[in-house]
């Protein structure tokens, strides 16, 4: 650059210089916009976690004692610091959570419910995915549409009769008749009353993911296994499922996260939020909100503990989540 222009550049100040170069080279504007947007999105997605951390390590006595936005003295100019900061340091809150409530039991319940639902969904959806992905038979399109349609209905449309059935007081009647089928056992406050609705609710997504993956295995591999003497089911479990391991992992991760996230049935089918009633973390966190109404640090600490498993799962399995959501949801 010639000395003349650089001198005039200095005279104009940094902002004008930047504007000048931006006009000459629009690429830089896009870069700047790109990084600005990236920082903005990172901030908005991660900020609520930071706020939980701030509250969790603030000692209980100082929770309400002052503003979380401290005033700072910056070379004589006082300004409000734009980020909330903790008012003290008290990591004991993370242990106190387990003293107040058996929070580990709620977490165990959540894990047990999520894992058993995932296993059931994977087995049933594997059979269905094989059928839809590899067999051609009359009624295939209609059945897939039916499963798709059911997956769109809100849980609220199912809850009234399911709750009635799970109380186990009266026999289940065939709808619109008085013919009794059987009297169900009382399932409220047991894992069955949650695992069954979860399985039905989240199975369609797994069926669509597995249909896509199983459909991609070349026919020749299955034929070869059959010629070697495996049975039809053997070919599914020894050839197709192992070859589609990424698809099965995807379906498993998504089902696990979906059950861990579930609120509707989790809060209704356990009639009181206590760990003995198989209430998952929904019950644990709700108890903190309703019983320990001012111990905001414990609420925040419990939330951080309970969110850790899914955060780790997302970081480890993000490729699977991305491919599963896009494959499954767009197919749907």
């Amino acid at each position: 650059m010639a000395t003349e222009t650089s001198q005039s550049d200095e005279a104009r100040g940094p902002l004008q210089r930047w504007t000048q170069s931006a006009i000459e080279n629009p690429e830089r504007v896009y870069r700047a916009l790109f990084y600005a947007a990236m920082v903005f999105f990172m901030f908005t997605t991660l900020f609520p976690f930071y706020w939980l951390l701030v509250l969790a390590i603030t000692p209980e006595g100082r929770l309400l004692s002052g503003s979380y936005l401290p005033t700072i003295d910056l070379f004589g100019i006082s300004a409000t610091f734009p980020l909330p900061v903790p008012q003290g340091f008290n990591p004991q809150a993370f242990l106190e959570v387990f003293n107040q409530l058996p929070f580990h039991l709620y977490m165990l319940n959540s894990f047990a419910l999520a894992i058993s639902t995932t296993v059931i969904v994977l087995i049933i959806a594997s059979l269905a995915g094989y059928v839809f992905g590899r067999l051609d038979f009359p009624g295939r399109a209609v059945l897939m549409l039916g499963i798709l349609a059911i997956s769109y209905f809100p849980p609220a449309a199912f809850v009234v009769p399911l709750f009635e059935a799970f109380t186990g007081r009266a026999a289940i009647l065939i709808p619109f008749t008085d013919i009794p089928l059987f009297t169900p056992p009382r399932l409220l406050n047991s894992p069955g009353s949650m695992v069954m609705p979860f399985s039905a609710l989240f199975m369609p997504l797994s069926i669509f993911i597995l249909t896509t993956f199983y459909g991609q295995i070349p026919d020749g591999l299955e034929d070869a296994a059959r010629v070697e003497g495996t049975t039809r089911l053997g070919a599914l479990f020894r050839v197709i499922i192992p070859l589609s391991a990424p698809g099965v992992a995807t379906a498993a991760v998504l089902t696990f996260i979906a059950v861990y996230n579930e609120y509707f049935f989790s809060s209704i089918m356990a009639t009181s939020p206590s760990a003995e009633n198989w209430s998952p973390i929904v019950g644990g966190i709700l108890s903190f909100q309703t019983q320990y109404t001012t111990q905001y640090n414990l609420m925040a600490a419990a939330s951080i503990i309970a969110v850790l498993p899914v955060v780790i799962l997302v970081i480890v399995a993000q490729e699977r989540i991305v491919s599963g959501l896009t494959a499954g949801a767009l197919k749907e």
């Binding site: 629009p26 690429e27 990236m38 999105f41 990172m42 908005t44 997605t45 609520p48 976690f49 706020w51 309400l64 503003s67 909330p84 269905a128 067999l135 038979f137 059945l143 549409l145 499963i147 798709l148 349609a149 059911i150 769109y152 209905f153 809100p154 609220a156 449309a157 199912f158 809850v159 009234v160 009769p161 399911l162 709750f163 009635e164 289940i172 709808p175 619109f176 069954m196 399985s199 039905a200 199975m203 069926i207 039809r232 861990y260 609120y263 929904v282 966190i285 709700l286 909100q289 905001y296 925040a300 309970a306 969110v307 899914v310 955060v311 989540i321 896009t326 949801a329 767009l330 749907e332």
Partner: protein, 330 residues
């Protein structure tokens, strides 16, 4: 296994004899029979947990059932008529109505139907815009993309109850530091923020946008990545700016994906329950699912009628999706 002479070996072979017979029977089924055989578990599960409850909900909605009265009396469509005329409004919690009394804003946000629609439309609108922005960023190649993507996906995986806790703690009038500045701007009520319908609706929508934008972003990202990169090379040679490339290549090509994603999300948004129940409560922000839960122990008939109306509205949207996408849907 009748006599003691039958040894372990014979038992073994007899059991496997049954297994062999079942296997042989399965081998000889036609493709269609085999397909339906493997689908039996799906039919049983969905039949028991989805189809039966749906039919039963419709049946219950035709009866006037109160707590502890058994089946109740058959009232045909009275429950639905009662909902539409406002006769059933006293059954709903708080001052909630099903349809709005007047067209004033205050009456609108007391109406379960309108609140659900406002929630769905506003949250899906912002989720689409933010999701598009996030997808455009994730579509670029840059150092650390993996971590940025994980950070953007994480809110989607956060359990609803913890999402609720985050926003409860951010906007609670005792401790939430966001209430005061936003109240000064006139957006939120300064005191009892989470018992004020308009403020709570705003907070619940913000919470939903925070959590679900990532889902939109992933759907749109799939659309972006299916675009043929060669098109951009052609555009560059022709001298198109980045904005022109977006306007004339990217946007038209991802429009169908965005359309599907919007419909898909709208259907999900109309189910909203958990975040409302946790952050403010069903009396403050009455959504349709909320009303079902609030009434189903005392007034089964009314509850079932609301549930079936919700299902019918969603069903209509789904029919639209399937009709619009046609065979591509499968």
């Amino acid at each position: 296994m009748s006599t003691d002479t039958a040894g372990a070996g014979e038992r073994e072979s007899r059991r496997s004899g049954v297994a062999v017979r079942v296997m042989r029977w399965m081998e000889n089924l036609s493709d269609t029979q085999y397909a339906y055989l493997l689908l039996v578990p799906v039919f049983v599960l969905l039949g028991a947990i989805a189809l039966y409850p749906l039919l039963r909900t419709f049946e219950l909605s035709l009866f006037e059932t109160r707590l502890g009265q058994g089946q109740g009396t058959f009232v045909a469509l009275d429950n639905y008529i009662g909902l539409l005329t406002g006769e059933k409004d006293p059954v709903l919690p708080g001052t909630t109505t099903f349809l709005p009394d007047t067209l004033a804003f205050d009456a609108m946000i007391q109406s379960a139907l309108v609140v659900t629609l406002i929630f769905a439309v506003v949250s899906v609108f912002f989720e689409t815009i933010i999701g598009l922005g996030q997808a455009l960023i994730l579509d670029q190649d840059f150092y650390g993309r993996r971590w940025i993507r994980a950070a953007i996906i994480i809110p989607w995986a956060v359990p609803i109850v913890i999402q609720g806790m985050m926003f409860f703690l951010m906007f609670n009038s005792n401790i939430g530091f966001l209430t005061e500045p936003l109240a000064n701007l006139g957006i939120l009520a300064p005191t009892n923020t989470l018992n004020d319908s308009a403020s709570s609706l705003f907070i619940v929508i913000v919470a939903d946008i925070w959590k679900t934008s990532a889902f939109m972003a992933l759907l749109i990202l799939a659309g972006l990545q299916s675009i043929d990169r060669g098109l951009y090379d052609v555009a560059k040679v022709a001298g198109a700016s980045k904005f022109q490339q977006f306007r004339y290549i990217t946007f038209p090509l991802i429009l169908p994906t965005i359309g599907i994603a919007i419909l898909f999300r709208s259907v999900q948004a109309m189910r909203v329950y958990g975040i409302i129940d946790f952050v403010s409560g069903c009396e403050t922000v009455p959504s349709l699912s909320c009303m079902v839960v609030a009434t189903f122990l005392r007034r089964q008939g009314t509850s079932a009628a609301i549930a079936f109306t919700t299902a019918a509205i969603i069903g209509a949207v789904v029919m639209g999706i399937i009709y619009w996408q046609g065979e591509d849907a499968i």
